[in-house]
Symmetry: D2
Subunit: 354 residues, 4 copies
């Protein structure tokens, strides 16, 4: 109820702050009999972890997932999968300068007001470190969904936008550049921009696009639990996300019905995909396509005026090792959350019919 | 689990199809002792109901909410509030022409594939008629939130966009025009566009903006159940919604941190509100601002090619009484869903501290 | 959360007080495609309804279930099944004599203290009238479980106990006597006792035994959601229940392991059934057997001393039409709750394996 | 959904098998600001742990609870409390003799049938080792309920029953004998019986009684979530439990209403307590009293005939270190589960009224 669980039948509950001994989680509801490739889980962790390239935070965390239960002889047993990830590099002293200060556009102020306490050593549960657990669990979910392929990539950094359409992209390129944009030229421009922004002690936002292929028809519930509502909630629960749209999205609001309707082929597929793979909240078998907007990281390496917990104006300057742009490392998180949603809805859908 | 409930502590469960005898719902978790003004509930129903103006569907439904339980001597008793709304005007024959036809960009195909059956008489649970129950329950939630003011309005119809900012709007104007746009001139242009579109047998999309004033600091949970994630899920669960953004939204993704950070005043309020009233998933006391994109209604009064349940290409033409633009009637639905989220998070937040 | 829902995947939510216009409920999660025999549902209602024999309350309620949604052409559609049951015979004046009085061993005092209000016209949600909704929903659940046979019967009234074992009983006898005891001789004695007790203005308790045949192996979860824990919670949620035991029950606590262990036959069945059909919280395919203790009805037709809401001692005498023994009418309620549990666990178990 | 969570607002989720590296859990929903005495948590662990006396299993487990999150400077932060308990003494080889054998009246057969796999090294999730996590979490819940005192004790071992009533007991005696019976003489007899039974390679059942003092009026919900239904489910979820009764229990079923009704004192307390502190599912401020029946442990140190996974009859003999009677070590588990229920209902009740 306090909001640390995600999903209904394939359910992840997480715990941990960035500066405790470890973070971790429990996956409850993974069916028995899944051969789990633990190495693949760790590969997803590498995609998210800090220090992986020159344009992300240089903190060092090995982010090794240790599974404590729910696996036996290489397979899931149907019982809860508990796991922990050590916080190897806590460096609490990085945060002493902000102990009594509310950083602008962070959760410091709201968190303190809500709970009457604040773990100033790194944002408590508001730290993006928590997303490491999501990536671990999402990697399990991905393996449950063996015929479904989830691919996210950077589609905008600041005002540089990827112009090509999904059909024209070479997805093999995504992991070849640190920005994770599938168009090499655009990727290079984005990387240059991020380096410039960082040299100014500033940060910049961006957009992630995600395409899910191979989804069977029928996932999603027609009323409150529409598939895109669950995907939206999942994405909006990621740190720094400001918006979510699927299919035609906000641009679709400007169209006429005669332009926007997706006409059928005789096999039930559609000639266009303004619907983004979901009609009436239920997957229609076409590619699911959505976009997620991320704000610029709030921690700047510049001086900013702010207030302290006494309500006094003070000047602060960010220290430590932060991302100038959150988007490249957000790619595996977006994929993980999408996998968690689909695994959950896949299990839910087993009971749609007798 | 099958997705017909919304909320955790203030929980609405709904039932009913557009062509049964009645639809209805149960609100479980409304605290005892709330003086409920039933007349105000009915006023909200009038704002949503069909036939209220020349630019919406001309179906006639009285949409009278009949409360069956949970009230005694004018107050809530703390027990479930059951209510029903009769389907007065079912006109099943309006739908006979689509019995075996999958309408493009509707839920017909996905629904049939999911459940192995289809109530062709109006879309089953995919019908927007279900939202009448949301408006009824939302009107109860609004009364629970007596110091919180939720105001939604039309901010775009097709490519006509409201240019004024919230601070410059006269909210009194909203209910004075059938489009529910607070700027009379823009409203007139929008109305003209809707009439034109309708005369072509076509439809058009739009955008709703919603501002929530008077929210206390502290509503929202820091991880999966961020306040904006719940608002997003709520909005995305409304029929025809394609996108959700709050605060700076998608535009914020193009900004730099130094432009986007909201600097504090000494009282904890902020000088700007790119955060949209929510920081780290928790309300900060500033106005909550979000926008919701609606696609054009899929039912056209034009000929369209489509397929039937045998997979044969057929030609169909919409009949009946449909909205050329869903946005004006969506306003009270957006407000209702926002009220349901806030009521739920208000109760949840009572347990944040000892 | 406020406790008016039961089940996870096959979920019943109920509303309604005994003195409102109607009570009702929503079944969410019944799979599509079930041919529902509405007449059978009504037959279960007849087994529970007041006025059915000389030894139960003489109130008259037709207790007709009206289904409002979720059915189409005789089958479930996979969408929520909403239903209402009118309160035909409210007779609010029967209760005016207890308006300010807390009846001993009723919920009057606790309810008032909890909610700060009390609907004195019949106990509010504490009225056993609410169980009519459970019987209606349970009758749907029974039809989902077509190969499972649930049989409850009276095994004790006061100190008169049914001595025969289940294997020696003729279950056809159950519905042939008003007590619903399958042994005609014992049934006659029980009926005589109830009549005597009633003539004294007194009431008496009893025990219901329930046997469930044809349960597949594998229903139940090994930790918190053991099958017998769910059955226990279900039974203890019925008005007037004081205890629950399954298999060997309390008597099993006095045995030695060498006496109590159920040895296997080679087909996995067991030679004895002290386990009551459940091992480690999971059904083992043997008959599930449990017993439920009901206290004597608290409303007496005798003078009793009690207090009023001012804390003053007053004398009261029950009026109206109450059951001298709740057990005969509790039989279909016990069966209904068992059916709800099994339907839920049947659906849950579909996801135990890949 | 897979049943590894307990509670709604104060929610415990556990993971772990007896033979993995560690077991653990997450408490989600503990309000911020509770000063947590970690030493007291560990004391509860000592009461449950194996090897604590001559009459329990001689396995050695330090059972040290390591808290990983949710605490800062000695207080709860309002965020999830993650904890792990190492499995120090796994001795997997103890179980090799039962690898292919289904032990009678264990979960081996049902577990294997349900999941298609079986972790034979100690029962998987069916192992009572899982209850260590319940005791840890219950110890946190106890500290949240500072004015509520929960006391469980052994009231029967085999056919030896504690004859004294709660009012006549010296609760200080409970922890002074290994049986945890508050009457020294009865305790001695029980201990003698357990030693005898063990010397025969046999086991014996028993009954635990629990009294909860200082409960405020108003905890519990009137319909499905009656307080005693939650307590019953909690107790029935403990390994080896066969029955639950509260207040007058099964004996109450033999009484007349005129004997059973609890007459009021003018302060709302009652002269008798057949109600067991709960009326209409809601606490009435009197002591909550309930009893829990435990079957004899199924693992015998005797030869037994059973079947293997091929369905062949085989002879087996228990090895290893098992409890001859589960009741003494069950006392802290019963208390822990009661504490979890009360903490949950305490938080739920905060929202009963405006």
């Amino acid at each position: 109820m306090a909001g640390n669980s995600f999903g209904k039948l394939f359910k992840l509950t997480t715990f941990g702050e960035s500066h405790g001994e470890a973070i971790g989680g429990i996956i409850d509801g993974c069916p028995a009999g899944l051969e789990l490739d633990v190495e693949k889980v760790q590969q997803e962790m590498q995609r998210r972890k800090p220090g992986q390239s020159a344009i992300v935070t240089q903190r060092k965390e090995p982010d090794t997932v240790k599974f404590l239960s729910g696996l036996f002889e290489g397979k899931t047993t149907g019982t809860p999968i508990g796991f922990v990830i050590e916080n190897a590099n806590q460096k609490s002293n990085d945060y002493s300068h902000i102990k009594d200060v509310y950083r602008p556009s962070h959760a410091d102020y709201t968190y303190d007001q809500k709970y009457g306490n604040r773990d100033y050593r790194g944002g408590g549960r508001s730290s993006a470190r928590e997303t490491a657990c999501r990536v671990a669990a999402g990697a399990v979910a991905k393996q449950l969904l063996e015929n479904i392929k989830i691919t996210a990539y950077t589609s905008a950094v600041g005002s540089i936008q990827l112009q090509k359409k999904f059909e024209d992209l070479n997805l093999e390129e995504i992991e070849k550049n640190p920005v994770r944009c599938p168009d090499p030229e655009t990727a290079a421009n984005m990387e240059t921009l991020i380096r410039e922004i960082r040299s100014q002690g500033d940060t910049v936002g961006g957009v992630v696009e995600c395409v899910i292929q191979g989804v069977p028809v029928g996932l999603g519930e027609p009323v409150f639990d529409k598939l895109h509502a669950a995907l939206g909630a999942a994405m909006l629960s990621i740190n720094a996300v400001k918006g979510f749209e699927y299919g035609s999205g906000f641009a679709g609001a400007a169209l006429k019905g005669s332009e926007h309707n997706d006409l059928f082929n005789t096999d039930g597929s559609t000639k266009t995909n303004f619907s983004g793979g979901i009609q009436g909240g239920i997957s229609n078998g076409m590619d699911i396509v959505f976009r997620v907007a991320f704000k610029p990281v709030a921690t700047l390496m510049q001086k900013q005026e702010t207030i302290n917990s006494e309500g006094e104006l003070v000047e602060m300057q960010g220290k430590g090792r932060h991302d100038p742009c959150v988007v490249p490392r957000a790619i595996p998180i977006v994929e993980a959350m999408a996998a968690l949603v689909l695994a959950d809805y896949y299990l839910l859908n087993r009971n749609s019919r007798l």
